[in-house]
């Protein structure tokens, strides 16, 4: 089917017009068809807000700024903007300018009011709050900080007063503690005075030891490490030895237990006093024998000779 020239031209112009309008609305973040409503707000300082900037609720883009101008009645910045119809902007909502002008990303946040209040009508007015930048939040929190600091200072004052009253009382514990401390310090001072020479010589020795140690550790750090390694080996061996010793000791313990109980030869030896007595008498007899032997060696030598003969 051959289309007339008029139809072609008309269709292309209409299509272009539709694309233009929808395209501009699309990039302006307007919905393609009218489902938004317009609201107004006022700022002392718009901080670089311009038409086309995004309007966000809880971080979600829901609309954009239509117009920013100075209200001649009160010299404040009047901002007209629109948001999606689904967004419930209710009484008690407020607006805040946020973002950084220096980075070119300024936007407006709408903080929604409580869910049970009435909806703001189309074209209605929403109050604004100051920009919540670092300084703003700091100055918001400043009264709380000052209150807390005030409380802390009051407490500090009462503590100081208690301390002073404690110190003022001549019979108070604090006073006496201080007095005895003073005495101790005096004694210490006298001692230090008396022993000054010795202390200085001790310090010199310590100094010498330290420098020796330094020398040992300084350039010859390796030898120290080797020593430590050796020491470790020695310790390990010592550990082994101690284990053996432990076993030995328990054996000895067991033995001594037996001995104590009077079991075995040594036990009888230790526990039987009869042996002692007999030994004692034996030694007495031996003594008498030797005395006799010294006095009359002949009596015994005769028999010794007999023994020699064999």
């Amino acid at each position: 089917m051959k289309h007339s020239n008029e139809l072609k031209v008309g269709l292309s112009i209409i299509t272009a017009a539709i694309i233009f309008i929808l395209g501009v609305r699309f990039f302006e973040d307007l919905p393609l068809f009218e489902t938004t409503y317009t609201l107004e707000t006022e700022f002392d300082n718009a901080a670089g807000l311009i038409a086309g900037n995004v309007v966000r609720v809880n971080g979600v883009g829901v609309g954009s700024i239509d117009d920013v101008y100075i209200n001649p009645e009160n010299n404040r910045v009047r901002v007209r903007f629109h948001v999606d119809r689904e967004v419930p902007v209710r009484q008690g909502s407020h607006t805040v300018v946020s973002g950084f002008d220096a980075l070119g990303v300024v936007r407006m946040d709408v903080v929604l009011g409580s869910a049970d209040s009435a909806k703001v009508p189309v074209g209605g007015f929403i109050p604004s709050r100051e920009q919540a930048d670092l300084l703003g939040s700091l100055s918001e929190k400043a009264p709380v900080l000052i209150d807390r600091m005030d409380g802390a200072l009051a407490q500090l004052t009462s503590v100081l007063e208690t301390t002073r009253s404690m110190l003022d009382d001549p019979d108070g514990d604090a006073r006496q503690a201080l007095a005895s401390m003073r005495g101790s310090v005096g004694t210490l001072d006298a001692m230090l005075r008396a022993e000054r020479d010795r202390i200085s010589s001790i310090l010199e020795e310590v100094d010498g030891i330290t420098s020796g140690l330094n020398r040992a550790m300084g350039p010859d750090g390796d030898s120290l490490a080797a020593t430590v390694a050796n020491m470790n080996a020695v310790m390990a061996r010592l550990d082994q030895t101690l284990l053996t010793l432990d076993a030995t000791a328990s054996g000895v313990n067991e033995l001594l237990d037996k001995v104590n109980r009077g079991e075995g030869t040594i036990g009888l030896l230790v526990n039987d006093p009869g042996l002692y007595h007999r030994t004692d008498s034996l030694l007495g007899s031996l003594d008498a024998l030797l005395v006799d032997f010294r006095a009359n060696p002949g009596r015994y030598l005769k028999e010794m000779r007999l023994v020699d003969l064999f």
């Binding site: 031209v9 112009i13 694309i19 990039f27 302006e28 973040d29 086309g52």
Partner: protein, 253 residues
């Protein structure tokens, strides 16, 4: 008229005769009814028939802009949405109108100049005059009107297809997701940008068609003269598109 004088004054003479031609043309707007059919035919030739080549060029310039912007953005601190924020305004402000302008300077400007030049050297224009028709009104006004009306249409098509091409290549090529591309474009979108583009396209449409008509209508000589007029129409249209581009940007942005 000495040679020296003509070199110095030639531009002024050309500007004067160009203005007079246009003045004659638009003073005959009252006879518009008699060449309404001609206007529509020219609109189809200038506008509708140019859509495929304009769409092709726009799609590729959008795609290339996206790829090159992605290539140049190496810093990890710059969000990828910046690609959209660069490609879309570039397309709307500059490429949509200028790329279309260059293509139409070649395609439409050359054809108008060749048509009118041939009519001039074959004395058809004189025949129209002899038949009592206002040749300037009949030949020039429909073409200029067609350029001024259809060029914005082509500009809108070029911008739309260029942005779509950039978006598609950015997404399909993995340079920037479509959502981020559009977010970036929205973040930095100025409602005046497309209006400025439309103004540009009106001006470019007028420049191309009127210069080509002027060159074609005043063709001298035979076939060689037609060739010269055609070349001059295309080249001078391109030069004046660039000059007008700068002048508009300097005054309106």
């Amino acid at each position: 008229m000495t040679r020296n004088r003509s070199i110095i004054l030639a531009p002024a003479v050309a500007l004067g005769s160009y203005s007079l031609l246009l003045f004659h043309a638009f003073s005959s707007l009252g006879e518009f009814g008699s060449y309404r059919k001609n206007v529509v035919r020219q609109m189809v030739r200038v506008g509708v028939d140019s859509l495929p080549i304009v769409a092709l060029a726009a799609a590729f310039s959008g795609a290339v802009t996206t790829v090159q912007t992605a290539y140049q953005l190496v810093s990890p601190f710059i969000p990828k949405s910046i690609i959209g924020a660069i490609v879309v305004p570039s397309m709307i402000l500059e490429l949509g109108a200028v790329v279309t302008g260059f293509i139409l300077a070649g395609r439409v400007g050359a054809r108008i100049a060749a048509e009118l030049g041939t009519m001039r050297v074959t004395e058809q224009i004189d025949a129209l005059e002899a038949m009592g028709l206002n040749s300037i009104g009949y030949l020039i006004v429909p073409r200029v009107i067609a350029g001024v009306v259809m060029f914005p249409v082509l500009y809108i098509a070029a911008s739309f297809i260029g942005i779509a091409g950039g978006l598609f290549v950015g997404h399909a090529g993995g340079f920037v997701p479509a959502g981020e591309f559009i977010d970036g474009a929205r973040e930095f979108f100025q409602p005046f940008d497309p209006v400025f583009g439309l103004i540009k396209s009106f001006v470019f449409g007028f420049i191309i068609t009127s210069i080509s008509c002027f060159k074609g209508y005043n063709t001298l000589g035979g076939a060689e003269g037609v060739g010269l007029a055609t070349t001059q129409a295309a080249v001078i249209s391109c030069v004046y598109i660039l000059i007008a581009d700068l002048a508009l940007a300097a005054t309106l942005l």
